[in-house]
Chain length 122, copies 2
Amino acid sequence: MARAPRHGPYTCGIDAALDVVSGKWKGFILWELEVHGVRRFAELRRGMPGVSEKMLTQHLREMEEDGLVHREVHAEVPPRVEYSLTEHGRTLNQALGPLGAWGGERMRREGLEVATAEIPQG
Amino acid sequence: MARAPRHGPYTCGIDAALDVVSGKWKGFILWELEVHGVRRFAELRRGMPGVSEKMLTQHLREMEEDGLVHREVHAEVPPRVEYSLTEHGRTLNQALGPLGAWGGERMRREGLEVATAEIPQG
DNA sequence: CTGTATCCCTGGCGATACTG
DNA sequence: CAGTATCGCCAGGGATACAG
């Protein structure tokens, strides 16, 4: 069971939204699917150097549970699974827009570094 | 040192913003200071049944470090310390607005419960 | 290719006691 | 009143191996 003790009583909408976005890679998944529309498991994985299969699967499953992500399995060999945003996930991304802009500002102000998706630190 | 391994390279603005808001009570602190303008330590504490002094202090310090919260110490006996939002904190709250609305929608849709701030579960 | 299963470790958080 | 110091739990997350 995923993140069971959460989905608990919330103090406000921020809490309820944060619960759904909390997870080391969820912001990035949302962004990838927003930009690319549809992505396969391995494509997402390549976009996030450092993520383990376990965590990627787990995050994807939780986001599916939360109705943010649509998972389409094609009965082929080799298997092909495609992920995309639901309408619900798209509205979340829109709500995240101003926050992302604020964060971008913060990075500029504080001179914080951007993780380049292509360099896995080694 | 607070949350040291973070403030790390971010994949995007969402990441950078989430880093600053992550923490069990930070959303609530932001909200309290938005509504009340100025709050003392004990007032915040009373508003959040269940929080420990340690966590409240820690969160407040991190938010001060991050430039979200202003801490004003009055040299009196008994001591009086007042917390308020910085301009920076206020713009974060504004950026959080749409997300809060989305979360509120989610709670309504899913029939999720609201934690009443007055009932500490027992 | 797309996942499960297992083990382990870190750090976020809670509880309690003590201090200026 | 407004904190600090210490201890310990446990869930999130990483590494690795295995499976359909």
